[in-house]
Every structure is written in C-alpha cells, then in structure tokens.
C-alpha cells in the first residue's frame, strides 16, 4: 500500500485516530473535504448512496446527510462544524441517528508535505470508551472477508507505543 491508513484505537481510551497521506496539495484536499458535491463522491461505506440535506462547511455551520443502501435502509448523520479554517483544520461534531446522543467530536488537521502531498490526521473523541468501541463494531461490514493484513500492521494499528 502506497498510502497506508493508520488507525489507532487504544484499548480503554475513548479516542480513534486516523492518519492518511494523500497525493494532492492541501488546498485540493481541503476542497474535497468541504465541498458537498465532492464529499458526496467519497464519504461513507461502499454500496451506499449519499443524500446531502445540508452541508455548510463554515465555522458554526451544520451538516446532515443520509446514506441509503440498495435494500431501502437509510442511515442518517448530522453535526455542527465547530471550526473550519481553510485549508488546514476542521473541527466538527458527529452523531448517528441510530445512536442518538452518542455524539463525538472530530478534529482534523491537514499538513503540507513535500511533493504536493498532504497528511490528514484526524482524532475522534467519544463520550465513552463503549461508544467508541460500538462505533467501530457498527462500522463493520457484514461478510467482509478480504484477507488479513500482516501481524505487524495490526500491532501498529493497536498502537505500538512501547
């Protein structure tokens, strides 16, 4: 994998960290993260169609969207853009309709890298460890069986702090 997605979910902590580098300059990445017509093209699980009801990526703005699968299921999400600072930072709340009141705060920072690349570092802070773990489990796709990565990858995703 050229740009590995590094997910850290430390056991016993209510945080979820995701770091990923992207082969595009920071202002382009920022556009893809904040313009609804672009967000629609990539956000959410595969097989889901994204319907955006509101997406006003400015400080104090709000968003709300629905993911629909082919079987007629709908999953709604909403939140507030607490801080949007182009082209480097987005802090927003996140709440799934299926788990009301279990809101999390997502803080994302974009860093410029050499060669017109960008590092995207995001931390989600949940209200409880259980809410974090439930979110990860809920994010699982049924029947995913795409082969396991090597042990080293897993250990690093569990955070090899020591």
């Amino acid at each position: 994998m050229k740009n590995p997605t590094i997910i850290t979910a430390e056991p016993g902590q209510p945080f979820l960290d995701i770091i990923r580098e992207l082969d595009a300059p920071r202002d382009v990445v920022f556009r893809a993260l904040t313009e609804p017509d672009l967000v629609r093209q990539w956000l959410g699980p595969r097989r889901m169609v994204m319907e955006i009801l509101e997406f006003d990526a400015v400080t104090g703005g709000a968003y709300s969207y629905i993911h629909r699968d082919g079987e007629g299921n709908a999953y709604g999400f909403r939140g507030i853009f607490h801080t949007v600072l182009a082209p480097e930072r987005v802090i927003q709340t996140f709440e799934f309709d299926g788990a009301p009141h279990s809101v999390s705060i997502e803080s994302m920072v974009l860093e410029e890298l050499d060669g017109g690349r960008t590092r995207c570092s995001a931390r989600s802070a949940f209200l409880t460890v259980e809410a974090r773990d439930a979110m990860i489990v809920d994010g699982m796709e049924k029947g995913v069986n795409e082969g396991y990565e090597r042990l080293d990858d897993v250990l690093s995703s569990l955070s090899l702090a020591g």
Binding site: T5, I7, L22, V28, A32, M140, L151, L158, L160, G162
Partner: protein, 113 residues
Amino acid sequence: MRDDDLDAAFSALADPARRAIIARLSRSSATVNELAEPFAMTKQAVSKHIQVLEQAGLITRTRDGQRRPCHLDPAALEALTGWIDTYRLEAERQFRRLDGVLATLQDQSKEQS
C-alpha cells in the same frame, strides 16, 4: 469472537511488553527463557505476561521434553485482526475514493491552466 474474549484480548494487548512478546512469537515459538533474553525483564515478569496472554487466549504452551515453548494462537489473533481490520478496510475504501476525487480535481485544474 465473543465480547468477553475481545475485552480480555485487548486488555492483554494494552501492555507494550506483551505486544512485544506477541510480535516475537509471530516469528517463531519460544520458551520463557528465550523470550526474557531481549527484554530488560526478569524471567518472573515475562512469565506473568505470558500468563495474561494465555488467559486471554492469544498464546498456547506445549510440552516438549523439558521445554515448554509458547506459541501464538493464529486463530485467536485472526479473530482480533478481523475485528479491527473490518473497520480499517472500510476507512481504507473511503480514502481510495477520496484519492480518486483528488486525482480528478487535479486533472481538471491542469486542463484549465
């Protein structure tokens, strides 16, 4: 993997020394003495960590004459990797789509300039 097992496995892995032991055992089985060697730890401390990992179902021990080597249980680890990988794979897919959008945007800006 049941929730209880998952809890036990994750709390066992919450310790860096135990993660290092798992990493070492992923290369080959080893006895307590062999495991203690590269660590600045007493044999007793290593034994304790091994007990925790054993109770969490991540490693097993067999008898081979006087030796009692520890082995990584691939099935248990697979269940664990599966648990975390499904989420990671989903996030990865999303980032791949984002890669695609970014590539398109850059092509467009090249055409315009």
